[in-house]
């Protein structure tokens, strides 16, 4: 398997007035194509910072990040936009759907900027929202909204799907459904999925689990036989 993401000794320092906050300290790892990764850690451990750096939403203070050999740590905003546009899909904890676009249109919007997108209708059917395609977010439940968000992310057909607490705002049953969707995507299209959570239960379904603490990557656990999402409990 090829490394899709290579991270070498990255640090992120925020200068907040007179206070220097080291959000991420000397983190290194590699992620392979098709891997399902869960990042665990308490609040403030640097999970989100790490995801932002991998996702091209922010730049490192030091260290190197490569996507398929292409350096991201010194890329311009324009290059980062291109990267996010074609290589990355995001799923946010609070969905971040466009309130004035229907479910279908929300997905369509992502598709229209992608190079090799999936079929919008098929993706919506896959997330079980074929009959809700014409609804606005305000007319959908939280779980349905999150499914639209997932559909929006995967319809772009990105190499890398980054999910920040995708189940955080959902009840258990809906959360499991969500994880199933993400797993399916990973398996079916051989895509890399990275989930950030502080919910240890989810970790069981990952190929590898990254444990973050205090801005450092403390430990990586490998699961040769990950648990299917249906069996995950929390």
């Amino acid at each position: 398997m090829n490394a899709i993401i290579r991270v070498k000794g990255i640090s992120k320092v925020y200068q907040m007035g007179e206070v220097r906050v080291e959000a991420l300290k000397e983190v290194s790892f590699e992620i392979n194509q098709g891997e399902f990764i869960v990042v665990l850690g308490p609040s403030g451990s640097g999970k989100s910072t790490m995801m932002n750096l991998i996702g091209g939403m922010d730049t490192v203070s030091s260290g190197e990040v490569y996507y398929k050999g292409q350096p991201l740590h010194q890329a311009t905003e324009k290059v980062l936009t291109e990267y996010r546009r074609h290589a990355v899909g995001f799923v946010f904890q609070f969905y971040n759907l466009m309130p004035n676009l229907t479910a279908y249109e929300n997905v369509q919007m992502a598709v229209q900027i992608a190079k090799d997108p999936l079929n919008v209708k098929e993706v919506l059917a896959q997330v079980g929202l074929a009959d809700r395609a014409d609804h606005f977010p305000a007319q959908l439940s939280g779980g349905q909204q999150q499914r639209v968000a997932v559909a929006r992310a995967i319809a772009k057909n990105p190499d890398l799907l980054l999910c920040d607490e995708p189940t955080g705002a959902l009840d258990f049953a809906t959360g499991v459904q969500m994880l199933k969707l993400l797993k399916e995507f990973s398996v079916q299209y051989k895509k890399t999925v990275m989930i950030i959570t502080h919910n240890a239960g989810i970790a069981e379904m990952a190929d590898r689990v990254f444990y973050m603490k205090d801005g450092r990557l403390e430990n990586i656990t490998v699961h040769p036989h990950p648990v299917p999402p249906e069996e995950v409990v929390w």
Binding site: T81, Y83, V88, G89, N100, F136, P137, Q139, R152
Partner: protein, 786 residues
């Protein structure tokens, strides 16, 4: 602590608040500058009129004995009377060989203690008796760089006479020195007045103990109309040429008209700008309050009272109002200085000076503060009803319906997703869309009007000199001449192609209780050099019998075609009845037209002409002018090309003002569009940031905001067209006077210019907003959950 919060809130959106402050400042700048200028002009005028005894009545006769003129003093209601000799002469000035220069010589009686329309001495001294000295209008002296003791040569009865300049001065009678009502602006290079002792005048013109001009004041409480009829009959034997009160005195009428307009503008312009500023402020603060629901809830939870919270938000408006008011006051004071300078170049009021009026400064502060406070109160009063817990929850989104546009087959498909978001936003956020829409309508129609004023004025002039008056030269006689003889002589002059006689007679028209003094133009049969057109630009034939009235005259008299008027003229022996045949538009001047033979027949004065129009080879123009301009039969020689050039110069200077107004409209448009974009941006920060995270470029994200504005802009411009047309008509009507009428039309060019200006205003504001979109902090925005 709350003050600090306010500063930071404002700093975050400084451009928006600055734009709003600028709009307020512009409004108050127009208010203070116009009001201050108006006050100073009024004060200078009143003081000048009073101090130098501006007359209440004016009469011109062919000639009358001085003693008879003085006897008018005994008439009931008349207070003081001055008889004068007033004669127009051509001045031979070597430096200005291409244009004719005229001076109106006015006699003064140095023995009188309180001369009417007296002269304020500005340089040198009054002329000595019998020494051929002359006192020039100050502007004339300056325009020709003359000095004291310099000599100027004038032509009197065909003879060259040298006069020595003894000094310069200014009289209230010629504050706005126009040669005739047809002139649009004073031109001190070519026309001014000068003063000579009566003794010198009577000798130079051979009019011993005679006068041709009478000015008088009235006893307190007496009106001009009270003495008019009596004076008319008293003066009629001396061939009365004109009799009018101070209201109709040309200089005074122009000055009063200008002041009236200034006063009107000083009242209406600020309302426009303050209204816009109030709306901007209202929308901005309403938005601010909505976006700070959580904070308001927190404050309430702490135990802050409603009053305290409201006061906090009102202080935003207060600050903007105060800053805008002060800025407007300061700028207005500065601008009033410039305006006074400008007025001084047209109106010769010796004591006119710019100054500071604390009262308007104070008013502007009060107005802007109240206006801002009102707008902010309207914006924030919603806070009152909120419960702390409710306030801390975000308002419920209400996007659940599609709009009508989406049902138009094919329409919806042409838009990208960003475009659809934009259109949904525009149709759902009705209040703000309406505000932007109104702003664009306002920007567009203001620009269209400003641009069209320039076009209207040039249309007015081009119409007059390319369509109506086609002659190369107009020769006005100093006294009426036998018609056939004059035409015959001029036809034989080398280079002359066509000669058409004109009869111009001052008449007084009466219909019911409306009366109007105008000049009747007797147009010859088959006239080619003077033509009259209707509204559609079709040539109109002068009817064989009856009168043709210009629109202004018809409006004054409230007559329509078919009505019969009573016409009186100093030329006629008795009053005549004439029928109104037709009403036609006229841009420069306000006349009535009649067939020449018919008019002469009515007047029973024989076969006379007062002037001729002629066409001539351009090569022969200069010799012709040399030959005739000094002739004693010629009162005035007017060359069309020179007139056009003069008007064009005048227009060039007003273009500058129009550009300033255009820029102001663009700024206002910018402020409005920018503000509504900023609000859109703030409300949808999260959405837009999500899009950026998904890999959209700032440009693509910006599309959501820009499509919404182009959409509103498109309809704003469409709706602006009829509004601009209406505004323009009102404006044209307001600016028109007896002397000229602006055609209330907007040319396609003005519309196009305004469209470009509006597009520019929208575009420039989007450039600013687009910078904000680029600077969106993706990480920050996505972290927070409002």
């Amino acid at each position: 602590m709350l003050w600090r919060k306010m500063w930071r809130d404002m700093a975050e959106n400084k451009i928006a608040y600055i734009a709003c402050t600028i709009v307020i400042a512009i409004g108050l700048m127009t208010y203070t500058s116009m009001s201050m200028s108006k006050d100073h002009l009024f004060a200078a005028k009143d003081e000048f009129y009073r101090h130098y005894h501006f007359a209440d009545g004016f009469a011109k006769v062919k000639a009358m004995p001085l003693s008879k003129a003085k006897a008018i003093k005994d008439m009931e209601g008349v207070d003081r009377v001055n008889g004068r000799l007033v004669k127009e002469v051509r001045v031979l000035i070597p430096s200005s060989d291409s244009e004719d220069v005229y001076l109106r010589l006015i006699s003064f009686d140095e023995t009188l203690p309180h001369r009417l329309n007296d002269v304020e001495l500005l340089q040198g001294s009054f002329p000595q008796k019998n020494s051929r000295q002359i006192l020039l209008a100050d502007k004339f002296l300056k325009a020709h760089s003359l000095g004291l003791s310099d000599q100027i040569d004038v032509v009197i009865d065909g003879k060259q006479v040298g006069l020595t300049v003894s000094g310069s001065g200014q009289s209230p009678e010629y504050v706005y020195a126009l040669k005739e009502a047809q002139a649009i602006a004073p031109d001190p290079r070519t026309f001014e007045v000068a003063y000579l002792p009566y003794e010198d005048m009577e000798m130079l013109f051979g009019q011993k103990q005679m006068v041709n001009d009478v000015v008088f004041t009235l006893k307190p409480g007496v009106k001009f109309a009270d003495v008019e009829a009596k004076l008319k009959s008293t003066l009629k034997p001396y061939q009365l040429e004109a009799l009018y009160g101070a209201n109709d005195q040309l200089s005074n009428a122009m000055l009063s008209e200008e002041l009236k307009q200034l006063e009107k503008m000083a009242k209406s312009m600020p309302i426009l700008f303050l209204g816009v500023a109030a709306i901007i402020l209202y929308i901005m603060l309403k938005r601010l309050v909505e976006s700070q629901r959580g904070q308001i809830g927190t404050l309430k939870a702490f135990g802050y009272r409603n009053v305290e919270i409201i006061l906090h938000y009102l202080s935003y408006g207060l600050l903007i109002g105060l800053v805008g008011g002060i800025l407007g006051g300061v700028l207005g004071t500065a601008l009033s200085g410039l305006m006074i300078d400008l007025y001084q170049s047209y109106f010769s009021l010796p004591n006119l000076a710019a100054g500071f009026s604390p009262e308007y400064f104070l008013y502007s502060l009060i107005i802007s503060t109240l206006c801002s406070l009102f707008a902010s109160y309207q914006g924030v009063k919603g806070v009152l009803g909120l419960q702390p817990a409710e306030a801390m929850r975000p308002p419920i989104p209400v996007f659940t319906k599609k709009n009508m546009l989406e049902n138009l087959p094919g329409f919806w498909q042409i838009f990208t997703m960003q475009g659809r978001m934009a259109l949904r936003n525009a149709t759902r956020n009705k209040g703000r869309s309406f505000f932007t829409f109104i702003g664009i309508v306002f920007t567009f129609s203001m620009m269209a009007c400003f641009f069209s004023i320039g076009n209207m004025a040039s249309e007015m002039i081009m119409d007059q000199f390319t369509q109506v008056q086609k002659q190369d030269v107009k020769l006005s006689f100093s006294a009426p001449l036998p018609r056939r003889q004059a035409v015959r002589e001029l036809q034989h002059v080398q280079g002359v192609h066509r000669v058409e006689p004109m009869v111009e007679v001052p008449v007084s028209l009466q219909f019911l209780n409306h009366q109007e003094d105008v000049v009747a133009l007797g147009i010859s049969n088959n006239a080619n050099l003077y033509q009259v057109f209707d509204k559609q630009g079709e040539r109109v034939q002068i009817p064989r019998t009856g009168l043709m009235l210009s629109v202004q005259v018809a409006e004054q008299l409230q007559v329509k075609a078919g009505d019969v008027l009573e016409m009186d003229s100093i030329w006629a022996k008795e009053k005549m009845k004439v029928k109104v045949e037709r009403i036609v538009p006229q841009y420069i001047g306000a006349n009535v037209y009649m067939n020449q033979d018919t008019l002469l027949g009515l007047l029973k004065q024989g076969d006379l002409a007062t002037s001729v129009l002629l066409t001539i080879d351009s090569k022969q123009l200069v010799p012709f002018k040399d030959q005739y301009s000094t002739s004693k039969f010629v009162g005035n020689l007017e060359i069309r090309q020179e007139m056009i050039e003069k008007y064009e110069q005048l227009l060039a200077s007003s273009t500058y003002t129009l550009w300033i107004m255009g820029v102001i409209s663009v700024i206002t448009g910018f402020a409005i569009v920018y503000n509504s974009s900023i609000i859109s941006l703030a409300e949808r920060k999260r959405e837009l940031a999500s899009l950026r995270v998904m890999g959209m470029t700032p440009r693509e994200v910006m599309e959501i905001i820009s499509v919404e504005q182009w959409f509103l802009g498109f309809f704003g411009i469409l709706a602006g067209i009829p509004i601009a047309l209406t505004m323009n008509q009102v404006l044209a009507k307001g600016m028109s006077s007896d002397l000229y009428t602006l055609p209330g039309t907007i040319s396609p060019e003005a519309i196009l210019q305004a469209v470009l200006g509006t597009i520019f205003a929208i575009w420039i504001s989007q450039q600013w907003v687009s910078r904000k979109v680029q600077k969106l902090d993706l990480v920050e925005v996505l972290k927070e959950r409002e």
